[in-house]
């Protein structure tokens, strides 16, 4: 059969078939009972240098360790008596001034790992440092509470571990039209149009069909719902701006999706950090400011919480190439309208008490942040998602 015929036959055929029960069940499933709240997670991939983002400008140890790359006192935006924002984070400082930002310092975990891959795994799966999990913490949330792929969307073309569950995963897309068209290829469509799900089993073949059906219905739902809102705001013309714009369009078109994840690359600044990080922070914060504005204009900011993290911070002491090497604990940004603990949540890092690598020691376990978000923001059972009890924090 020719390809053209194949397509023709499928389009002819599609009207003739019943919508199978199995598909109906999936499509009518509602995740509305989970409420209106959204969670957006941004990873600054590569390991953002937190010390040069939020600068301890009265700390001599900081200046001594970074003769070439420290940010001078007169070249930053002071926020408190000891901490100031990198000047490229001015848009973030605006959010801070409006009470929309909480900064949690010294976030990490025991026995920190300094490999990008491993530490990203740890942050994405919420595991211990010596534990290997094959599901992500958002994936487990999707599996237990969302129950359908589009309850979690990654703004990319392939899915990260953070969004993976055991048998239900989130879905990745940076372009809903492309995603949709990929479920409309002749073979994919044709097979599904023939599928009556009468004999799908729990085994692998049944699992494949089930995943296809879910993929198609999620892609259709995301595409058809999100096209009802197109953002008119002027996002920075770069890929990260586009990721946030797409996220805003998803949220403002009132997609039922609950959790979003996007990764911004480029933060592995081993060399010539000064100018590179300057540009990165500017790209990040200017897009973030527009994103918040977009949500506010559409009255969705009040229902959205944004969490920004890196897989690790960087070493206190600069290296020989005008950069910094992989470190440990780092600061995390929480952005939202109704924060309980605005501004700085805890003390700045203690630079006199570093670990044996010369890295910042964590005082807040990142999973305490997850637990607080699950419990207080998404209002679900954090222990069953994180497999452990973590102390909850008081920022929301």
């Amino acid at each position: 059969m020719k390809r053209r015929d194949f397509i023709k036959r499928s389009s002819l055929a599609s009207g003739l078939f019943f919508v199978p029960n199995f598909i109906k069940n999936i499509e009518s499933q509602s995740i509305n009972n989970l409420g209106f709240r959204k969670l957006v997670i941004i990873q600054l991939s590569g390991g953002n240098d937190g010390l040069n983002s939020i600068i301890p400008y009265t700390n001599d140890v900081y200046y001594k360790n970074r003769p070439q790359i420290s940010i001078k006192k007169n070249n930053l935006i002071k926020a408190t008596d000891e901490l100031g924002f990198h000047k490229s984070l001015a848009p973030l400082k605006n959010l801070y001034d409006q009470g929309y930002l909480t900064i949690i310092n010294n976030v990490g975990y025991p026995n920190p790992n300094r490999s990008h891959f491993r530490s990203t795994d740890i942050w994405q799966t919420a595991s211990d440092s010596n534990q290997y999990l094959d599901t992500g913490w958002l994936g487990r949330y999707i599996e237990k509470y969302g129950k359908i792929p589009y309850s979690g969307i990654e703004i990319d073309d392939s899915l990260s571990l953070i969004m993976k569950g055991k048998t239900i995963n989130g879905i990745a897309t940076k372009n809903p039209r492309t995603l949709f068209s990929n479920t409309q290829t002749p073979y994919f469509k044709k097979v599904l149009n023939y599928q009556s799900d009468q004999h799908l089993s729990e085994h692998n073949l049944g699992y494949l069909y089930k995943t296809m059906i879910e993929a198609r219905s999620s892609a259709k739902y995301i595409y058809e719902t999100s096209k009802t809102y197109k953002s008119t705001l002027d996002y920075p013309k770069n890929p990260f701006g586009k990721q946030l714009k797409t996220t805003a369009e998803f949220i403002n078109s009132h997609l039922d999706s609950k959790v979003y994840y996007a990764s911004m690359g480029g933060f592995d600044t081993h060399a010539n950090q000064f100018n590179r990080q300057d540009r990165l922070l500017s790209t990040f914060s200017s897009a973030m400011e527009i994103f918040v504005k977009d949500l506010k204009q559409n009255n969705t900011f009040k229902d959205t919480l944004i969490l920004v993290f890196s897989e690790f911070g960087r070493r206190v002491q600069q290296n020989g190439a005008g950069g910094t090497d992989h470190g440990a604990a780092n600061n995390v940004y929480i952005i939202g309208e109704n924060l309980k603990n605005k501004g700085f949540y805890n003390d700045a890092p203690d630079l006199l008490r570093l670990d044996k690598n010369g890295d910042i020691i964590h005082t807040v376990d990142f999973r305490s942040i997850y637990a607080s978000i699950l419990d207080k923001w998404l209002v679900v059972d954090d222990v069953s998602i994180l497999n452990k009890t973590f102390k909850k924090l008081d920022f929301i």
Partner: protein, 463 residues
């Protein structure tokens, strides 16, 4: 032997089988066919890139080279050598498409996901890969002991930082947790004692193992309730004394080669055999000869790994990739890049390969490489990338996968096949009833088109 059983054997012991080979084997008995497979696997064809331009790296220390060549030139040489790991990835993938020594190659791939390792030192990682290949069907005891002395492993699990004064437990822990026993079969104290036994195990520039006596703790260790002046080899022997070790490996073997769902009595059976002498070859012969291996419930029920899927297609239609980088793209989009495992626990496999995105991509794979389907998705950037590079992977790529398809070979091999014969050749899983109806209704114009169509149904994802 029945055709379906031959296909089953060759999908598990290799990457599928072509119609010519089936015709050769059909009249033979199971014993003969398994014997054939085993004797074909005796050949050890090492994977070796031409690395002569990087010999300096192998012979002189970075410090000496920096002085001799200058910082910049040294950095460039190093980076260039690190890129060779990608070439090794491509060479390995090409190797898997070759029809000889299939069982050895399949075992090598299997072991690479047991002894998971990653290294950007091309000499060391190539050596590591060949160690797996050499020992793939040998003795498991030898395999573990050799792996423990590999430079790449020493780096990957920090054993070279494991010194008498400050032991590093990483290798000792993963040796037991991931390579031999599984979690819960040892104590934290066992790890500490084992780590002491591996102190001072290091390597020379060229990758050769060396015991640094001064950093080795030669004192008495107490491990699994036994005490002695144990070194690393002794620890490995003590681990292998436990039947749990044989069971742990047989469990992996069973899930990989037989069925992702364990049949306890079959697992007991092969564990007993393996525990006797840890002979890998004997274990595999036993499995492939067992009646239960050919039970219907074991056939066509495994989700192919991305590499099995890709190689399997190429075994039916020979394909040459014009842009080797596009092989990386395909691997990345499906979540399995050889030599670049995500972490030491390896790829989980099975349902873990599948999510909405990977499934759509996998079902389009045959169209992408055989039918010039358009690429409309981008791979993720790398951690080390700059902002621009992180997002701009696609600029380097054409919008479709550039391949030369050798349809002549396919046509010659499959000329006389009727549609249902071609279907039975390509699809080994049970057909979903509705999809079977769909296939029956198709008007098949050419085996070439039908081949791509068959490779695009969900059943082709299974082996």
């Amino acid at each position: 032997m029945k055709q379906r059983h031959i296909q089953h054997l060759y999908w598990r012991a290799g990457f599928g089988i072509d119609v010519k080979k089936i015709d050769q084997l059909k009249s033979k008995s199971k014993n003969e066919i398994v014997k054939n497979l085993i004797s074909d696997a005796k050949k050890i064809n090492l994977l070796q890139l031409d690395l002569s331009e990087f010999n300096l790296i192998k012979n002189k220390s970075p410090k000496a080279l920096r002085i001799e060549m200058g910082e910049e030139a040294y950095r460039k040489l190093r980076q260039k050598s690190q890129k060779k790991v990608r070439d090794l990835n491509h060479a390995w993938l090409e190797r898997l498409t070759e029809p000889t020594s299939v069982l050895r190659e399949k075992m090598t791939l299997f072991w690479s996901n047991v002894f998971v390792c990653r290294d950007n030192h091309i000499f060391h990682i190539q050596h590591f890969n060949n160690t797996l290949r050499k020992n793939a069907l040998g003795n498991f005891r030898e395999l573990v002991k050799t792996i423990a002395k590999e430079a790449s492993m020493s780096k990957y699990l920090n054993n070279r930082q494991n010194r008498k004064k400050s032991p590093n437990e990483n290798f000792a822990r993963e040796l037991m947790e991931l390579f031999t026993l599984g979690i819960g079969n040892y104590t934290e104290q066992d790890i500490k004692e084992a780590a002491r036994a591996f102190t001072g195990w290091s390597f020379k520039l060229n990758g050769d193992f060396v015991l640094r006596e001064k950093q080795h703790d030669s004192g008495i260790k107490t491990f699994f309730d036994k005490s002695g002046y144990f070194d690393g080899d002794d620890i490995i022997d003590l681990i292998l004394e436990k039947k749990q070790c044989a069971r742990f490996i047989c469990d992996k073997v069973y899930r990989y080669f037989v069925n992702p769902i364990i049949d306890e009595s079959h697992l007991d059976e092969i564990t007993t055999i393996f525990y006797k002498d840890y002979d890998i070859n004997n274990l595999m012969v036993h499995i492939f000869s067992a009646k239960w291996f050919y039970n219907d419930k074991n056939i066509g029920v495994k989700i192919k790994s991305p590499v099995e899927l890709l190689v399997g297609i190429r075994r039916v239609v020979p394909v040459t990739f014009m842009k080797k980088n596009q092989l990386n793209y395909l691997q990345k989009m499906m979540g399995q890049v050889l030599l670049y495992p995500e972490n030491v626990s390896g790829w989980k496999g099975g349902k873990n390969w599948i999510d909405s995105n990977t499934l759509m991509f996998r079902m389009k794979l045959a169209s992408l490489i055989l039918n010039d389907a358009v690429i409309n998705l981008e791979e993720k950037g790398a951690f080390e990338d700059s902002f621009n590079k992180y997002y701009n992977k696609e600029r380097k790529r054409n919008k479709y996968i550039k391949t030369i398809k050798n349809w002549d070979v396919f046509t010659k091999n499959h000329l006389k096949l009727k549609p249902n014969e071609l279907r039975d050749l390509l699809i080994i899983s049970k057909l979903d009833k509705d999809t079977a109806d769909l296939l029956n209704e198709l008007r098949v114009n050419s085996n070439k088109d039908y081949c791509i169509q068959l490779m695009s149904i969900p059943e082709y994802q299974l082996c």
